[in-house]
C-alpha cells in the first residue's frame, strides 16, 4: 500500500512539474491563445520550412495537426471542442461544410495575393466567388506503374487494370469514391453517376478485378509502391509524384476515359480563434515564391499561375501533372451526392472489399 501511494505521489509530482515547465516555456516565449495559429491539414502536405518562415514573419506560433480523410476532419470540426484556424478540405467536403455552416467567409481584401491564382481555378461550382475557400493544390486520380517489373508494359486506359497478367499486382487506395469512380469511368459512365443499374454494373465489373488486387491500403501505398511491393497502383497524382521521387522506375498516367480532378482549398472553419492570423497565413501561402517552394516539396499541382512560372520547366510542363486542355475537359469533380448516395457508394465499396479471390 505504502509503495502504491509513493508511486502515485511520484507520478503526480512528475506530471505537475512537466505541466508547470510547459506553461513556463510557453509564457516565456509569449505564446497564448491569440498569437497562435492552429492548422489542421493532411499529413505531409506543406513544406515545414514555410511554416517556420511564416512563424518568423508573422510572429505567430503555428500548431500543426493532421487528418487523413475529409470525413474524419469534418467529424472532428462539427463535433466542436477544437480551435482550428485553417483547414484544407477537398471540394466536395467544402460544399458539405458550407451546407452545415461550418465555415467562415473569407475577406478577399486581406488577401491581395489572390490575383496570382489561375482564373481556371476560381469561382468553381462548389464555392461560387470563392466566398469560403481559396485554392491550395489540385490534382487527379490515375494509375502509377512500374514498367520494369511488368516487362515494359504501359498503361493508357482504366481497362488495362483488368489485364490477366497483372494477377496480384495492383494496390488500390482505400477510398470509396475513388474505387467506385474508376469502376464507373472504365464503363464510360460519369463518376458522379447515381443510376442504380450503372452502379451495380460497376460493382460487378470491379468484382472481376479482385484477382489482380493485392491490397487496398491507406497512406502506406506510397511506401509499398516505392519499395516495389506491387507493380501497379491507383493513386492521387500528388502521391504519385512523391513515389516517383523515391523510385524513378515508376510512371504515372491519367487514363484516357477520364478521371477525377480534385481541389484542396484553404478554409477558415467556424472554430477559428485567430481569424486575422488565418487570413495572413492564406495570403502568405499564395505568394508566388512560397507557393512554388511548397509545390516542389509536396509534389501536387499548384493553381497559382505566377508560382507555376517559377517552377523548373520539367515540373511545370509535365503533362502527367499539368494535363493538356483536351484531357482536362474529361476530368470530373466529385459532386456532393448527398449522405444517402455516399452511404450507398460505401456499401458497394464494402461489398467489393468482401470479394474473395
Amino acid at each position: 500500500m505504502k509503495q502504491l501511494v509513493r508511486l502515485f505521489i511520484a507520478v503526480f509530482i512528475v506530471a505537475g512539474g512537466l505541466m508547470y515547465f510547459t506553461s513556463y516555456l510557453n509564457s516565456s516565449e509569449g505564446y497564448s491563445g491569440s498569437n497562435t495559429l492552429t492548422i489542421y491539414n493532411w499529413g505531409d502536405y506543406v513544406d515545414p520550412e514555410l511554416i517556420a518562415e511564416f512563424e518568423k514573419e508573422s510572429g505567430l506560433k503555428v500548431i500543426y495537426q493532421t487528418f487523413d480523410s475529409n470525413e474524419a476532419m469534418m467529424t472532428k470540426i462539427s463535433q466542436g471542442g477544437t480551435t482550428f484556424d485553417i483547414s484544407i478540405p477537398s471540394e466536395y467536403a467544402i460544399e458539405k461544410m458550407k451546407e452545415d455552416n461550418l465555415l467562415l467567409p473569407i475577406d478577399h481584401s486581406k488577401i491581395p495575393n489572390l490575383a496570382n491564382i489561375d482564373s481556371r481555378f476560381l469561382d468553381l461550382s462548389f464555392d461560387p466567388d470563392n466566398e469560403y475557400s481559396i485554392p491550395y493544390f489540385w490534382g487527379t486520380v490515375g494509375i502509377i506503374y512500374n514498367s520494369d517489373l511488368l516487362g515494359g508494359k504501359t498503361f493508357k486506359s482504366w481497362n488495362d487494370l483488368w489485364s490477366p497478367d497483372l494477377r496480384n499486382q495492383i494496390l488500390l487506395v482505400d477510398g470509396a469514391r475513388e474505387v467506385i469512380g474508376f469502376g464507373l469511368n472504365s464503363l464510360h459512365y460519369s463518376l458522379n453517376d447515381t443510376n442504380e443499374d450503372h452502379l451495380q454494373e460497376a460493382k460487378r465489373k470491379l468484382g472481376t478485378l479482385t484477382p489482380n488486387v493485392k491490397a487496398i491500403v491507406g497512406d502506406e501505398i506510397k511506401m509499398l509502391l516505392a519499395q516495389e511491393e506491387a507493380a501497379v497502383g491507383v493513386v492521387w497524382s500528388g502521391d504519385a509524384a512523391e513515389i516517383m521521387g523515391e523510385n524513378d522506375k515508376l510512371d504515372y498516367v491519367i487514363p484516357e476515359e477520364g478521371s477525377n480532378v480534385w481541389f484542396d482549398n484553404m478554409v477558415i472553419p467556424k472554430t477559428a480563434r485567430n481569424i486575422e492570423g488565418a487570413h495572413k497565413f492564406i495570403n502568405f501561402m499564395l505568394d508566388p515564391e512560397h507557393a512554388a517552394q511548397n509545390a516542389e516539396y509536396v509534389g501536387y499541382a499548384t493553381p497559382n499561375a505566377k508560382a507555376r512560372e517559377l517552377l523548373p520547366e520539367e515540373i511545370s510542363q509535365d503533362e502527367r501533372f499539368y494535363p493538356k486542355e483536351e484531357l482536362t475537359n474529361k476530368l470530373e469533380v466529385y459532386e456532393n451526392l448527398g449522405k444517402k448516395m455516399l452511404s450507398h457508394y460505401n456499401e458497394l465499396f464494402l461489398e467489393f472489399k468482401m470479394h474473395r479471390k
Binding site: 480523410s69 516495389e228 460505401n346 456499401e347
Partner: protein, 268 residues
C-alpha cells in the same frame, strides 16, 4: 458505517453511469436512426443481409483462429515459465513488447513480411524462394496472435502459479504419470485462467480494424472495419451503432456462457 460505505460507492457509480451506461445508451439510441435522422429499423434489417452476415462470420472465424493459436502458443509458454529460474525476468520480457505502440509493431511487420523484407530474404537464402506473406490470411492471424499473446499468457501463468505444489506431489505419490498429472490435476485447475485468457483475446479480436488494413490490405473485412468506415467515412452513425449494439450483445452472451460458474463445475 453504511454512510461511509455509500460514500465510497460514489466514484464507482459516477464512473459507470458516465462512461459505461451513457455511451451504451447513446449507441443504442443512434442505432435506430438512418443517415437523414429518421427513426428506422432499417439498420438492423440491413445487418441481416448476406454482406453483413458474411462479415460477421468472418469476424468470428478470424477471432476464433486468433484465440486458438494464441492459446496453443501461450499455454506451453506459461507452463514452461512457471518452471524457470528467473521467472520475473522472463515474464518481463514477455510484457515489454506490449509497452510499444501497437501501430509501430504493426508497421514493423510490413517491413518484415514485404516482398523484399527480412523474412523473404531468408526464405530466398534457404532456397524456398520469395513468397507472398503480406496481405494474406496467414500474416493477419500471425500479427494478431503476436499482439494478443501477452493477454493470454498472463492469466494462464497466474492460474498455474496458484496451484499448490503439494497437489502435484500427492498426484505423483499416488502413482500418476506426468501426463496423467497434467491432464487430471494441472489442466482442470488452470481452466479459469484459460477462459479468462480466451475472453481477453477473443473479444477484442472480434472488432479488430487497423490490422485488417495494414497487414491484410483490406482482404479481411471484419465488423470492426465496417464500424470504423461507417463512423468516419460514410458518417452513417446509425448503421455503425447498429453493428456495435449487436457486437455488444454477442460479447455479453459469450461472457455469460463462459462465466466463472462453468469453470467451478468442471473442477468438481
Amino acid at each position: 458505517m453504511t454512510k461511509t460505505r455509500n460514500l465510497y460507492l460514489i466514484p464507482y457509480i459516477a464512473w459507470m453511469l458516465l462512461f459505461v451506461a451513457t455511451p451504451i445508451i447513446l449507441i443504442v439510441y443512434d442505432s435506430f436512426f438512418d443517415v437523414e435522422g429518421h427513426f428506422t429499423w432499417g439498420n438492423f434489417q440491413k445487418f441481416l443481409t448476406p454482406v453483413y452476415l458474411r462479415m460477421t462470420f468472418n469476424s468470428f472465424w478470424y477471432a476464433f483462429l486468433i484465440t486458438l493459436f494464441s492459446l496453443l502458443v501461450a499455454y506451453p509458454t506459461a507452463y514452461w515459465l512457471r518452471r524457470t529460474k528467473h521467472k520475473q525476468l522472463w515474464l518481463l520480457l514477455i510484457i515489454v513488447p506490449s509497452w510499444i505502440n501497437l501501430l509501430l509493431k504493426t508497421y514493423a511487420f510490413i517491413g518484415l513480411f514485404g516482398t523484399y523484407g527480412f523474412v523473404n530474404s531468408f526464405l530466398d537464402w534457404v532456397g524456398i524462394g520469395t513468397q507472398q506473406i503480406l496481405f494474406t490470411d496467414f500474416s493477419f492471424v500471425f500479427v494478431s496472435v503476436y499482439i494478443f499473446i501477452p493477454f493470454m499468457i498472463l492469466p494462464i501463468y497466474n492460474s498455474l502459479e496458484e496451484i499448490n505444489p503439494s497437489l502435484l506431489y500427492a498426484s505423483r505419490d499416488l502413482g500418476a504419470s506426468p501426463w496423467m498429472t497434467f491432464r487430471r490435476v494441472v489442466f482442470p485447475l488452470t481452466l479459469g485462467g484459460v477462459k479468462a485468457g480466451c475472453q481477453a483475446v477473443f473479444i477484442p479480436a472480434l472488432s479488430l480494424f487497423m490490422i485488417t488494413r495494414l497487414i491484410a490490405g483490406n482482404r479481411v473485412v471484419t465488423l470492426g472495419t465496417a464500424i470504423e468506415q461507417h463512423f468516419l467515412v460514410t458518417q452513417d452513425w446509425g448503421m455503425g451503432s447498429a453493428i456495435a449494439v449487436l457486437l455488444i450483445i454477442v460479447m455479453a452472451v459469450i461472457m455469460i456462457a463462459t462465466g466463472n460458474r462453468g469453470a467451478r463445475n468442471t473442477i468438481r
